[in-house]
Point group: C2
Chain length 303, copies 2
DNA sequence: TCCTGCGATGCCCCGAGAGTATCAATTTCC
DNA sequence: GGAAATTGATACTCTCGGGGCATCGCAGGA
């Protein structure tokens, strides 16, 4: 089945016609196109035949556009301009100079490693548009596997078939207390000291692994945990601590940027451990923009 | 000089790639394109080589888009959609079903023949967008010769090299008077009756021919004309008559749609004659849309 | 009237795209 | 676990069509 074609013309016809329309002179247009004049004449005639429309009125002394010819030039001009930019644009995408990344993160990631990673990334790749969404670990993993996001910053406990991860943070938790809490001035705290103190936690479904490690730490301390609230996203939990509703667990890393009326204490003895990983699909191979972000994250982890 | 080309790819490449990107399957895409699979493989490889960018990650069992491939599809999709519509659109333009007409007219034309011509034309050619501008005869002729308008409705006295005209209206003028004018109830009026009555006229430069025929009519009546105001556009002149500033000349045709407080009187004896023609360039040949409008005008004149 | 310049036409060449046959690699199923 | 099947890539050939060269027909201009 030879040459069954959707379009009755080729790019060549458009370029040739644009040149003739500009110069209104076949010989000069042919010269500009670096072809011979007869070839140009034939191609234009072919284009007109294909469209079933006369685009040029030509006597042997004058060439002028018909109404259809004028309309045709106006149509193809932006098309050609777009196509002209395409190769360079594709190269930019392939090199990761421009692009789009859909990134999900947990509240903990944003409270610890993420801001600095993103800052460095954006400095080196200003052309990449980041679409950032806070999302629980479990949803992030599902979104990754479904191809809805390009990478996620989350807790590593979930099962992660088809997902590769790099550990970015691993810290024993301390606790956040309201600034007027009775224990605020204690040098050393352990979970037993906090017996009876209400805690603010996230819903277990968001990140069962960490949730269970919290419970395990309580159990190891011989303390029955008292869960005052389950709340999401994480930043709201800090707000509740500040409001005096209770305590919550936190990493030393986030202690640097706390609102006032909230204080951070290390824990001695049993304490849960927080981890943050960045995760991405192994297949398809990471796009260049993603590669760049993953490198930025890895570089941050190495410090 | 064979194949010196501005674009490293052809429409074919775009269409083929779109199909592969849709199906992510070379064999099925080839079938849909009615070509053999090896041809498709080669064309895609060629496209990638031309762009210097990998658009697809393919194992022997799975095909998937790279970031550049995704971006490429997004770029070419609208381009192909546009080009697909082009042939039909061009035919529509060539047949005068769609298009654009730049039309100039005098106040007199709009007050007499033009509304009906345009109404009939628009009913038959709803796809033609009309750009209407009121403009004095002298400027219309210049704009026509410069190709700035497609046709004009004006007074035929100007010299019109390279312009063809069709006469649409030819009427002896009467006068418009304020409704409370002393002569309002006179059965028959001539210019001598209006001696001393101030007249509102347009600037002579707008249409010297008619202006001089007005003066000739006054002279033939032995009356010295008294020009109260020179004003443009014409509709403002009627406003001044209504305001009692003076009288003005008008055609019987326009007497049907006068505002209140203005009355029309025929003139006996010497009176100027108004004519309206439609004029257009003889070269280039009128576009189909213009042809249609000219026919509508001629049909109106024939009644 | 002849001359000049322009677009169209005739003829030939060759490059590139398409088809057929086949290969190599990976998955599937018995 | 091995054979069959599926899929994309490669080798080779053919042919279509775009391009060059030579030339024609026609219209203005000196």
């Amino acid at each position: 089945m030879p040459r069954e074609y959707q379009f009755p013309f080729e790019l060549r016809h458009l370029i040739y016609f644009r040149e003739v329309a500009r110069r209104l002179h076949f010989r000069k247009a042919a010269e500009a196109l670096a072809i011979a004049q007869p070839a140009l004449s034939r191609q234009i005639a072919q284009l007109e035949a294909a469209l079933g429309v006369r685009l040029l009125n030509r006597s042997s002394r004058r060439v002028e556009l018909t109404a259809a010819g004028t309309a045709f030039v106006q149509r193809i001009e932006p098309v050609l301009a777009t196509l002209q930019r395409v190769p360079a644009d594709m190269r930019a995408v392939a090199e990761g100079r421009v692009g789009r990344l859909r990134v999900a993160f947990t509240g903990l990631a944003m409270a610890t490693v993420l801001p600095e990673i993103l800052r460095g990334f954006h400095r080196n790749f200003p052309g990449i548009r980041l679409e950032l969404n806070e999302s629980p670990t479990s949803l992030q993993v599902a979104a990754l596997q479904a191809g809805e996001i390009d990478c996620g910053f989350f807790h590593p406990d979930a099962s992660t078939t088809g997902i590769e991860t790099t550990l970015l943070l691993r810290e024993r938790n301390g606790v956040l207390l309201p600034a007027d809490h009775p224990l605020r001035s204690r040098k050393s705290l352990n979970l037993r000291d906090l017996e009876g103190c209400p805690f603010v936690l996230f819903p277990r479904a968001n990140n069962p692994g960490f949730y269970d490690r919290v419970l395990a730490a309580f159990a190891a301390s011989g303390v029955t945990p008292q869960i005052a609230e389950e709340i999401w996203p994480r930043s709201n939990g800090v707000g509740l601590v500040r409001a005096g509703v209770g305590a919550t667990f936190a990493c030393p890393s986030e202690a640097r940027h706390l609102p006032d009326k909230v204080v951070f204490h290390k824990l001695s003895g049993p304490a849960p451990e927080s981890r943050v990983v960045v995760g991405w699909r192994t297949s398809p191979a990471p796009a260049p923009a993603l590669e760049a972000l993953l490198q930025a994250a890895a570089a941050h982890a190495a410090r």
